[in-house]
C-alpha cells in the first residue's frame, strides 16, 4: 500500500539553515509583505550544515586601502579564471553591505582593532588583509546570531529534522510546484507546496574517505537538482584541505579539519620516518597553497612513507608547546579531547575533502533554469571557479542567501498562486525513497566504506584517465548493490539507518557526476589535478563543464568562460594601486 503523503502549503520554502538559508529567511520575511516563510532543515535550525563550522572568517573589502576590485581579482585569479565573473562580482560587491548587516542588524560582533575598527586578518591567496573574523570561531558567531533573529520572528515557520527528498515540478514541467520531504522524527512523508523554493542544503563532499563537512551533509541538494534535469557546473572541483585529523578507522573524528594557520605559523609536516618532505615539492615548504600541500601529502602516502594510520605527521612542538597552546587554543583543546597532544607531540594528518565548488547553475539573482527554484550557498556554482579562497565561503552563502530572500518575494508577486504538482512523479518519488524497505536487509556499512575508498582512490586528490574509468565503473556497481540492499523496517520514526541509505544514494549519484566531469577536464586547474594532463591549459580559451541528466543518462558539455569584466592577463586594479 502506498504511504500517505500529507500536504502542506507555504509561500516560500527554504531548504537548509546555514548562512544561506537563514539569511534568505530573514530577507524574505522582512520584505515579503506577509508571505508565509518556512525553513526546513535536516538537523536542528542553525545547528547542522557547515557555516557554523567556519573557523577562518569572512572576506570583505571594508578596510582603507582595499577595494571591491582587488577582492574580485583575488577571487578570479584564485579560481584560475574559471569563475562566472558576474557571480564573483556580485559576491565581492555585496559582501560589504552583508557584513554591515551582520554587525548592525543581526548583532554579530567581529574582532576589533584597538581603536574599535573592524580587524582584518591575512588569509591565504589574498593580496590584502581583509578577512573579518571572531577569533577562530567566526561561524558560530554568525549562525548563533542569525538563528536568534529567525527564532525571534514568529512569522517564520520551522520544519526541523526534515529531509528534502525530491523537487516536484508541475505536470508540464515548466515550473516547480513544491518539495517532497520526510519528517525524520515521525518518518512520515510530506509534500510542501510552495510558490518559491530556495535550495540551500550546502553541497559537502562527504563521499570521500576523509572529509570535513558536517555529518548530516550528503549532497542531497545536487542529487535532487540532477534528477530534476537541471544543469550542474564545475562538478570536478572538489577542494581538499591538506590537514585533516587522522585518528584511525571507525571514529567520526577522522577527517575533521586542523586549521590552516598551523602551517602558516611554522608547523612542520613529517613523513612516517620523521623527515620533513614539503621542501621536495615547493620552495615555500609547508606554507605552499592548499592544493600543493594536499598533493604532496598524497604523493608521500602513495609512496608508502606514512604514519601508522596511513597519513603523515604535523609537528608544532618546535615552536614551544606553551606558544602553541596559547596561539591555537581551540585546536589544542580539540586534539586533547580526542586523545592527541598537538602542542607537544605529533598528530597524524591526511588531506580531507572540504568544499564543493561545483553546483547548480544560477544567475546573480539566484534564479535557476526552473521557474520557482532558486539556489544559494554551496549548492550554487560559478562564484569560485576552480578554487575557493578561504573566507569566501561564508561570504558566498550569506551574500546570495540574502539576495535569494530579496528575489523570491518579487518572483512570488509576479507569478501568481500555488502550482499543482505532477502527481504521478510525486507518487514515484515517494516510492523511490521507500525502496530500501522493499529489499532484504544487507550490509550498508560495507557499501559506505567501499564508496569512500573508491572516491578517495580513483576520484580524489590526483586523478588520471584509468583511475576515473575505474571510479565510474565502481560507482555503477555500488549503485546496483545499494539498490539491492535493504534495511529492516523496524519503524520509520527517527530511523537514521533509512537516512544513511538515502545519503548513500545521493552520494553515489553526485559522485558519478564528479568523476564524469573530472574525466572530461583534460587539464589541471586549482583543485582538479590530472596526473596525465598536469598543465593548466590556455587561460584565454578556458571552458567549464556542465552536466545534465536526461532520459539517456548523463550528458556533459564544455561551455566557454565568458570574461565579462576582465580577461586573463588583465587586471581591474589600477597599476599604481597594484604596486602597493
Amino acid at each position: 500500500m502506498p504511504m500517505p503523503i500529507e500536504r502542506v502549503r507555504t509561500d516560500i520554502l527554504i531548504l537548509g539553515s546555514g548562512g544561506a538559508g537563514l539569511f534568505a529567511a530573514l530577507h524574505a520575511h522582512d520584505r515579503g509583505a506577509g508571505l508565509k516563510v518556512t525553513v526546513a532543515t535536516k538537523g536542528l535550525l542553525g545547528k547542522c550544515g557547515c557555516t557554523r563550522m567556519v573557523q577562518g572568517g569572512y572576506n570583505v573589502s571594508l578596510h582603507a586601502g582595499d577595494s571591491v576590485e582587488r577582492h574580485f581579482m583575488d577571487t578570479v585569479e584564485g579560481g584560475k579564471w574559471l569563475p562566472d565573473q558576474d557571480l564573483a562580482w556580485t559576491l565581492v560587491s555585496t559582501a560589504p553591505e552583508r557584513v554591515r548587516e551582520l554587525e548592525n542588524e543581526v548583532g554579530c560582533f567581529f574582532d576589533r582593532n584597538p581603536d574599535g575598527s573592524l580587524h582584518g586578518k591575512a588569509f591565504a591567496g589574498q593580496t590584502f588583509d581583509r578577512t573579518v573574523h571572531k577569533g577562530d570561531l567566526t561561524g558560530i558567531e554568525i549562525i548563533n546570531r542569525l538563528m536568534e533573529q529567525v527564532w525571534k520572528r514568529s512569522g517564520i515557520d520551522r520544519l526541523e529534522e526534515h529531509r528534502a527528498l525530491a523537487l516536484i515540478p508541475t505536470p508540464a514541467g515548466d515550473a516547480l510546484a513544491g518539495v517532497l520531504m520526510a519528517d525524520i522524527r515521525t518518518g512520515s512523508l510530506r509534500f510542501v507546496q510552495a510558490r518559491a523554493v530556495l535550495l540551500a542544503t550546502g553541497g559537502g563532499p562527504t563521499m570521500y574517505r576523509y572529509h570535513t563537512p558536517s555529518g548530516d551533509k550528503s549532497m542531497d541538494g545536487l542529487a535532487m537538482a540532477l534528477r530534476a534535469g537541471l544543469p550542474l557546473r564545475d562538478m570536478e572541483m572538489v577542494q581538499f584541505h591538506p590537514t585533516g585529523l587522522l585518528a584511525g578507522p571507525d571514529t567520526r573524528m577522522t577527517g575533521t579539519v586542523l586549521e590552516e594557520g598551523l602551517r602558516g605559523a611554522g608547523g612542520h609536516l613529517l613523513d612516517g620516518a620523521m623527515r620533513r618532505f614539503m621542501e621536495d615539492y615547493d620552495a615555500r615548504a609547508e606554507r605552499a597553497t592548499r592544493d600543493i600541500v594536499s598533493r604532496a601529502i598524497y604523493a608521500e602516502m602513495r609512496a608508502g612513507r606514512t604514519s601508522p594510520n596511513g597519513g603523515v605527521y604535523i609537528r608544532m612542538s618546535h615552536l614551544g608547546p606553551d606558544t602553541v597552546r596559547r596561539q591555537f587554543k581551540g585546536m589544542v583543546e580539540r586534539c586533547r579531547d580526542c586523545g592527541f597532544d598537538l602542542a607537544g607531540g605529533l598528530v597524524e594528518v591526511v588531506p580531507t575533502a572540504h568544499y564543493f565548488m561545483g553546483g547548480l547553475v544560477c544567475r546573480p539573482d539566484t534564479a535557476t533554469e526552473l521557474p520557482g527554484l532558486f539556489v544559494a550557498g554551496e549548492d550554487a556554482s560559478g562564484m569560485h571557479g576552480a578554487n575557493r579562497l578561504g573566507g569566501n565561503g561564508v561570504a558566498n552563502s550569506t551574500v546570495f542567501g540574502g539576495i535569494a530572500g530579496d528575489t523570491m518575494p518579487r518572483f512570488v508577486a509576479q507569478s501568481g498562486g500555488h502550482r499543482d504538482p505532477d502527481e504521478a512523479l510525486l507518487a514515484a518519488e515517494a516510492e523511490r525513497c521507500l525502496h530500501p524497505f522493499t529489499r532484504r536487509a544487507g550490509d550498508l556499512n560495507a557499501l559506505r566504506e567501499r564508496l569512500m575508498d573508491l572516491m578517495w582512490d580513483e576520484v580524489g586528490v590526483v586523478r588520471d584517465a584509468e583511475g576515473l574509468a575505474r571510479g565510474l565503473a565502481g560507482l555503477d556497481a555500488l549503485e546496483a548493490e545499494l539498490l539491492d540492499t535493504g534495511i529492516p523496517d523496524a519503524g520509520r520514526a527517527f530511523n537514521l539507518t533509512w537516512h544513511d541509505w538515502l545519503n548513500l544514494r545521493s552520494q553515489i549519484e553526485t559522485g558519478r557526476v564528479i568523476a564524469l566531469a573530472a574525466q572530461r577536464r583534460e587539464n589541471s586547474r586549482g583543485a582538479h589535478y590530472r596526473a596525465d594532463f598536469p598543465e593548466p591549459g590556455d587561460l584565454a580559451t578556458s571552458t567549464y563543464t556542465v552536466v545534465r541528466q536526461n532520459a539517456d543518462g548523463l550528458a556533459i558539455t564544455d561551455a566557454p568562460v565568458r570574461f565579462t569584466r576582465v580577461r586573463p592577463g588583465e587586471s581591474l586594479i589600477p597599476p599604481a594601486m597594484a604596486a602597493e
Binding site: 536542528l44 554591515r100 558560530i140 546570531r145 558536517s214 555529518g215 585518528a247 523496524a490
Partner: protein
C-alpha cells in the same frame, strides 16, 4: 551489568521515549574512540533502529550532547577513556527536555526560553550605517566577550537543578546570553530584556548551585552571568525602573 571482557565496553543505552528503559550492548574498545563513536557503532553494527543526533563532529554545533554516566556532555568530544570507569558506559538523552526517541531530546523548550529571556539582538543601526567602532578594551565589551562563545548545546540546561524543579526557569544558557546582550552597547532593548529576566522564572530563581559552570564544555560561567543580572535587576528595581 557484567564485567566487560578485555577489549570490550559494556554499554547501556536508553531506548524508547519518556517511557523507556536501558538496553545493554557490547562494543569493541578502540584507542581513538569517542562516546559518539560508541553510539554510532551500535547503530551501524548492532541495532540499526537506534536514534540519536549529531552534526559537526568537532564541538561546534552542540547537537550531540547526551547524559553520559550521569553527567551531560558533548559526545563528539568526550573520549571514552575519560569517562568509562571499568569499561562501562551508560548513555541517556539530555535531562530536563522531552525525549523524542532513544538518545534524541527535544530542544524546543530550551530555545523558546532563550527567546523569552530576550536573547536576540535588537538593532539600532542598519546596513546602510558604518560598523560601530567599539574598542575591545571597553569594560562592558570585555564582559560580553567572556560569555559569548556559548554554542547552545543545552549541557548546562540539562545539568541544572533549578530547571528540574521549576518548569518556568529560563535556565543558564538563556540568562547568560541575556547578560552578554546587556553589555552590548549597540543593542536597543536593554529595558525590556532586564524586565524579562527579572520576572518570575528569571535570574532570581537561580540557586547558584554552579552545575552550569562545572559542566559547560566551553568553560563559560553562566552562574556568574546570572549573579550579575541579579545585581543589575535589583538596582533597577530600587530605582523604580522595573516592577517586582
Amino acid at each position: 551489568m557484567a564485567q566487560p571482557a578485555a577489549g570490550e565496553l559494556s554499554v547501556s543505552i536508553w531506548r524508547g521515549g519518556a517511557e523507556g528503559g536501558f538496553e545493554a550492548y557490547r562494543v569493541p574498545a578502540r584507542a581513538s574512540q569517542t562516546v559518539l563513536d560508541v553510539v554510532t557503532h551500535v547503530q551501524r553494527h548492532i541495532d540499526p533502529s537506534l536514534s540519536y543526533r549529531f552534526a559537526c563532529r568537532v564541538g561546534m554545533c552542540g547537537s550531540c550532547a547526551m547524559t553520559v554516566n550521569g553527567r551531560p556532555r558533548w559526545t563528539c568530544r568526550t573520549h571514552v577513556s575519560k569517562v568509562a570507569e571499568g569499561g562501562r558506559l551508560e548513555i541517556a538523552p539530555l535531562a530536563n527536555m522531552p525525549v523524542i526517541k532513544d538518545l534524541a531530546a527535544d530542544m524546543r523548550p530550551f530555545f523558546e526560553k532563550w527567546q523569552a529571556a530576550g536573547g536576540a539582538f535588537e538593532p539600532t543601526l542598519t546596513r546602510a550605517d558604518p560598523v560601530e567602532p567599539v574598542r575591545p578594551s571597553e569594560p562592558a565589551r570585555k564582559v560580553a566577550d567572556a560569555g559569548i562563545e556559548c554554542i547552545n548545546c543545552g549541557v548546562c540546561y540539562a545539568g541544572c537543578d533549578t530547571v528540574r524543579w521549576n518548569d518556568d526557569y529560563l535556565g543558564p544558557a538563556a540568562l547568560n546570553r541575556a547578560w552578554t546582550l546587556m553589555n552590548d552597547r549597540r543593542d536597543g532593548a536593554q529595558g525590556p530584556r532586564l524586565a524579562a529576566v527579572a520576572a518570575g522564572g528569571g535570574c532570581h530563581a537561580c540557586h547558584s548551585h554552579q552545575s552550569c559552570q562545572e559542566f559547560c564544555p566551553q568553560s563559560l560561567d553562566p552562574t556568574g552571568s546570572i549573579a550579575s543580572l541579579k545585581r543589575l535587576a535589583t538596582r533597577a528595581y530600587l530605582r523604580g525602573e522595573i516592577k517586582a
